[in-house]
Assembly symmetry: C2
Homo-oligomer: 207 residues x 2
């Protein structure tokens, strides 16, 4: 592992724990930045503090994006991934569960930061989550899949709050996995999706 300067499992565990707490903290900041009602003068003071914090983190910075780094024992770490990344404050994050018959699901909460129409999740966020969860049906360790096509049908507005995304494989044809899935709130399905996910010949880890 080059980019992260850790040499043992214990060090990695400490870095993982500290990173997770920082990312959660940044998520709360994103939310407060949207919803704050304090005066511009206080906002300006807070901005200076955030800039100082960013400077401290930036004294040693990877030259490019996080990508997918690999632990010494070969486990991939997609810490920068916008949907699942441990270090990405944009990620809800999604935690993808896998059933025994190849189905996948994720329970997550979307707050103010994912809003489109008032009180509702932005349609594009619904599409983004479904792309990831449908794609996860095709992912295997060391065999990433890329989205070929994705079709989304919006049945009704998806309220901000607790949601579930789920998907299953409809069929596999060569390198193509055909997946179907849906987004649900407490009252049922809000968005349906189907997509084709492709295993490229040259494998790139992650996704």
């Amino acid at each position: 592992m080059d980019a992260l300067a850790v040499t043992s499992d214990g060090e990695l565990a400490m870095l993982e724990s500290a990173s997770r707490q920082l990312t959660d903290s940044v998520r709360r900041l994103i939310d407060a930045t949207i919803r704050t009602q304090v005066d511009p003068a206080i906002i300006a003071e807070v901005t200076e503090k955030i800039d100082c914090a960013t400077e401290e983190l930036s004294t040693a910075l990877m030259p490019s994006s996080f990508g997918v780094q690999v632990t010494e024992d070969g486990r991939p770490m997609a810490w920068g991934n916008v949907m699942i990344g441990l270090r990405n404050a944009i990620a809800p994050p999604l935690v993808v569960n896998r059933g025994s018959d190849g189905d996948v699901w994720s329970d997550f909460t979307l707050g103010s930061a994912y809003e489109g129409p008032p009180g509702l999740v932005h349609g594009g966020v619904c599409a983004m989550v479904l792309d990831h969860v449908l794609g996860a049906t095709a992912h295997k360790p060391g065999r990433a899949a890329f989205t070929g096509t994705l079709r989304i049908r919006f049945l009704r507005g998806t309220p901000l709050g607790e949601l579930r995304a789920q998907a299953r494989v409809d069929r596999v044809e060569g390198v193509k996995t055909f997946a179907v899935g849906q987004l649900t709130d407490a009252c049922g399905v809000t968005v349906e999706a189907d997509g084709v996910f492709i295993h490229p010949r040259e494998q790139t880890p992650g996704g």
Copy 2:
């Protein structure tokens, strides 16, 4: 305007400017959180500082999401919107331009925080951006449009960096606008999309 405590155009301008700077600052923090190589001890110190900053912003907080608030002279402010919101650090943000013939386009940059496969934009982020830009062809002042269906075809990986999304109306049938569009990098089209956007009978502003 209830939620934001401003009473004049001058006050609104000051709040807008301070908010914009804070949001930019939070965007830089999101990026540094992903790419930092500092020790866990420094990460923990930074986390405490971020928590303090969030606390300061939270001394006065809207009870729910930002929604779409309206200025005294009737201009809608979608400051919390995940794609265009002035106060949303998840938003790249998109600035949507409109041509004289109803076409729309947006030039923007996606960095580390939007990554899926190493060095590439997450497919779901491409879908999210295209949903917004295609939808923008159907939006009129006071006439928001909701996504009905969206179809995305991924031609190749979209590299992180400078991108353009553009869309145009293919045809209008009653409350339905049929839009087509694409995402391009310096080398051409990476993702194509088409979608149906619907004006609901009961209008909700924004989206």
